[in-house]
Symmetry: C2
Subunit: 422 residues, 2 copies
C-alpha cells in the first residue's frame, strides 16, 4: 500500500570526517533534495556526522525515529572507518549478513588481478537483513535499499556511496523508481526566473503582491552578484497540474517584469546571450580591462560558443588598450583609462579589429586599491557597439574585487541581451 | 573551572527553510569550524532544520543531549517563523523572559522612525533565562550566550543570527573570548600544502609513509581539478607547540615533493605566480583559445596584478589567432588549430605583440563536441615562451568542459611558476 506522502518527509545524512573540516561540504544533498521534491517529498532534516561508531549510531537512531525516508551517504567502503552498514543496523535493531553474490564478485575481481583479497574487503558484502543490494556501476561499494517499518510506520532507507558520480546514477536508476512505486502520486513542478541588474528588495516589492495571491505555489527569492532568482515550486496530484500552476504564476511575473527577466527556465545569462546570437546569426568580441577575461570565460563556458564568439583582447594595461584594441593613447591621457570615452573606444575598436557584429568594452576599478574620490573603487564603464551605434553605461558596484568584476561582466552580457531583443 | 576540551565537541545547527531547498547551502559552518578548531575544539555534528517548532525542538533536544558546545544559527528575527529562542528553551527545560534593555532599544528605534512598533517585534527581546545578550552591530536581532549545565555536564550554547556578515563579527568578538576563557588552553595549528598536475593516489603514495609516522598531526588529502591539497592540523597545549608539529611535517613533505608543491600556506596558484613575477620584476601575457579568458581572469583575480599582468588575446576563432596573436594562417592549415606548433606560435606571438617577458599560449578541445579519433576531447597544448625559448606540453584531460578548461589553465600557470623557479 502506498504511504501518505504528505505525512512522510526525508532526512539526508552525510557521513565522513572530511565533511566536518572547514574545507569540504556535502553537495550531494542539493541534488537529492531536488529529486525528492520532484517526487513530492520535502526534506526536513540534513545531518553531517563523522566516522565515529557512537556518533553515527546516535544520528541513525534519531533519524529512524523521526523520518520516513532516510538517505545515508558515504561510509560504505572496505576500511575500519566504513561503519554505515553496522550503525544503521544497530539503530534499527536488526543484523547484517554477508551477501554471497557480493563476496563472489569481490573474490573474482581480486583473482583477476592475481591478488589475495584483504580480509577487510568482506565488510563490503555486509547487507542489512531484508535489504536489496543496489549495484554500483561506477565504483566498488554497492548500495542498499531497505523498505521496512519502525514503530508501525513505513521507513524507506537507502545506503548510498559518497562520491557524486557513483551516488547520482545509483539514486536515479535504482532508488527513484522504488520511491515512485512506494509513494502516492504527488508531483512537484518548478520554474526558475532570473533577473539581472536589479536589487532584491526592488524585485520583491513588485513580485510579492503577485505571488502572495498564489498560495498554491511556493515562491523563494535568492540574490547573488547582480542577479536575482525567483524559484517557483508547486506540488499537486499530477505533474501536469503542478506544472500548470507554476507556469501560470511564471507568466504573470514575466508580464510584470518584462525584459528584466532574462531566463524563465533557469539558464545562465551567457547561455541566453549565446542563444540569441545563434538565432540571429550574429557574432561578438570583447575588450576587457577590469574583468580581465571573465566575460570571455563565461561566454566560452557555453558549449558550441565558437559559432558566435570570435575572441577579443584582455587590455589590462593602458599600452594593451592601444596595441590590441586600437584605443588612442591621447584619449586615455585626456579622460583616464576608466572613463566613458575609453569604454566606447574599446567596444568600437575591438569590433572593428575582430570584424564581429557586436563589440563589448569594459573598464573600471575593481579594487581594493586604485580608487580616488573622483573615481572610487567599484566604478565601471561598460560599452556595447554594433552597426546602430554604441551604448555606454556607468555603474557603481559595491563589494569586493570579485563582486565588482562579476557585476561588470553581468552588466555587459545584459546589455548585449537587451540589444538583441530590441 | 575550565572544562576538559578533549571531551568536549561542538555541534552546529543551521536553521531556515531555505537551507532545505536544492538552491541554498549553509556556509557559516565552514567558518565556525575553522575558528572552533583553532580553539582546540572539533565539530562532531552539523544539522540543518527548517522553521518548524516540532522539528527544531527535536534537533535542539538531541544536540543538548550529546554536545558540549552548540551553535544555533538563524531564526532570531521578529516573525512567527523565528522560533530558535523558544525551541532551545524548551529543549533545555528553561523559560525565556523579556529583556528590558532590548525592548527599550526596539522602542527607540521605531520611535525615531515615527512608527508604532509591531507587536511581533517584542519576540526579539526574549532571552533565555541565564543567558547573556550579544549585541548585533550589523543587524537588528541580538544573539545570546548561555553557559549552563545539562545532566551535570557543561553546556556552552550560542544563538547567532544567520546572515554571515552579522554572525562572523558577533562570533569573533563576543563568543571566541568567552570560549577561550571557558576551555583549557589547547590550540590547533594548520598548514595547507598544494600540488598541481599530480594525481591524488600518486600524491598519497608518497605522502602517506611520511604522515603516517606523525600521528600527532592529522593529515587530510583533498583533490579538485588539477590540484591536490594536503591539510595538516595538530592540537597541543600551546599554539607554538602545535605550530611546531605541523611545520615540521610540512618541511618533511616539502622535501619529498620538491617543486611539485607550489604553496605551503594555502595560497592559490595564480597568487604564487604573481608573487614570483613581482619579485623578479617580470611581466606576462596570454593568448587563450580553449580557456577563453580563464587564465587572464584567474591572474587578474589577484589584487595588484596590474604590476605584472599586461593582458593578451582571446583567440577563440582561427582568424583571431592570426589577427590578434600573429599566428600564420598557413601554420594553422598545416598542423590544425589544436597542435604543438600553434600553441608555440600563440605564446611567442603574444609575447612579441605585448612586449612581456613571458608569453602563454593555450589551444585545445574542451568538448563536448569537436573531438576526433586523432584529436580527442580533452587534448590540450600549453606553451610558455620567454627569452630562453619556448616549452610546449601536450596534455590529455578527462572530464567535462569545465574540468578540461580548469586543467589547461592550471597547467599553464604551473609551467610559468616552474619557469620562474628555475
Amino acid at each position: 500500500m502506498a504511504a501518505d506522502a504528505s505525512a512522510i518527509h526525508a532526512e539526508i545524512v552525510a557521513i565522513g570526517a572530511e565533511l566536518l573540516t572547514p574545507f569540504k561540504q556535502d553537495t550531494n544533498s542539493l541534488f537529492l533534495t531536488e529529486e525528492l521534491n520532484l517526487l513530492g517529498v520535502k526534506v526536513a532534516f540534513k545531518d553531517v556526522v563523522g566516522d565515529d561508531r557512537t556518533h553515527l549510531t546516535n544520528v541513525a537512531r534519531v533519524a529512524v525515529e523521526r523520518s520516513g525516508i532516510i538517505i545515508f551517504m558515504g561510509g560504505l567502503g572496505p576500511t575500519e572507518d566504513d561503519l554505515t552498514r553496522e550503525c544503521v543496523a544497530d539503530a534499527l535493531g536488526i543484523e547484517v549478513h554477508p551477501d554471497p553474490e557480493i563476496i563472489t564478485e569481490l573474490y573474482k575481481r581480486f583473482a583477476s588481478r592475481r591478488i589475495v583479497m584483504p580480509e577487510n574487503n568482506a565488510r563490503q558484502a555486509h547487507v542489512l537483513d531484508g535489504a536489496k543490494v543496489l549495484a554500483n556501476s561506477r565504483g566498488t561499494a554497492p548500495g542498499q535499499w531497505l523498505d521496512t517499518r519502525f514503530n508501525g510506520e513505513p521507513r524507506y532507507i537507502m545506503l548510498l556511496p559518497g562520491p557524486p558520480h557513483e551516488l547520482k546514477p545509483m539514486f536515479m536508476e535504482q532508488c527513484v523508481p522504488r520511491l515512485r512505486e512506494a509513494l502516492p502520486e504527488a508531483h512537484f513542478a518548478r520554474r526558475v526566473l532570473k533577473l539581472a541588474m536589479l536589487g532584491e528588495s526592488y524585485v520583491d516589492s513588485i513580485a510579492a503582491p503577485i505571488y502572495n495571491k498564489r498560495t498554491e505555489v511556493q515562491t523563494t527569492i535568492l540574490a547573488s552578484a547582480a542577479e536575482v532568482q525567483l524559484h517557483l515550486t508547486s506540488s499537486a496530484a499530477s505533474r501536469q497540474e503542478a506544472q500548470c500552476r507554476v507556469d501560470s504564476l511564471a507568466d504573470e511575473l514575466d508580464a510584470a517584469f518584462g525584459p528584466s527577466i532574462f531566463s524563465t527556465e533557469g539558464e545562465p545569462l551567457e547561455e541566453i546571450v549565446g542563444l540569441y546570437l545563434g538565432m540571429r546569426g550574429m557574432t561578438v568580441s570583447v575588450a576587457e580591462s577590469c574583468t580581465g577575461g571573465m566575460i570571455g570565460e563565461r561566454l566560452t563556458a557555453v558549449p558550441g560558443s565558437s559559432r558566435w564568439f570570435m575572441g577579443g583582447a584582455i587590455v589590462y594595461s593602458n599600452q594593451m588598450k592601444v596595441t590590441l584594441a586600437g584605443v588612442s593613447a591621447k584619449l586615455i591621457e585626456q579622460f583616464g583609462a576608466v572613463s566613458d570615452s575609453v569604454a566606447r573606444a574599446l567596444a568600437e575598436g575591438i569590433r572593428a579589429r575582430c570584424g564581429t557584429h557586436i563589440g563589448i568594452g569594459v573598464t573600471g576599478i575593481a579594487g581594493p586599491a586604485g580608487g580616488s574620490a573622483e573615481k572610487p573603487v567599484g566604478l565601471v564603464y561598460v560599452a556595447v557597439a554594433d552597426e546602430r551605434g554604441t551604448e555606454v553605461m556607468e555603474r557603481q558596484f559595491l563589494g569586493d574585487r570579485q563582486r565588482v568584476r562579476l557585476g561588470a561582466s553581468q552588466q555587459a552580457l545584459d546589455m548585449v541581451r537587451r540589444r538583441l531583443l530590441a
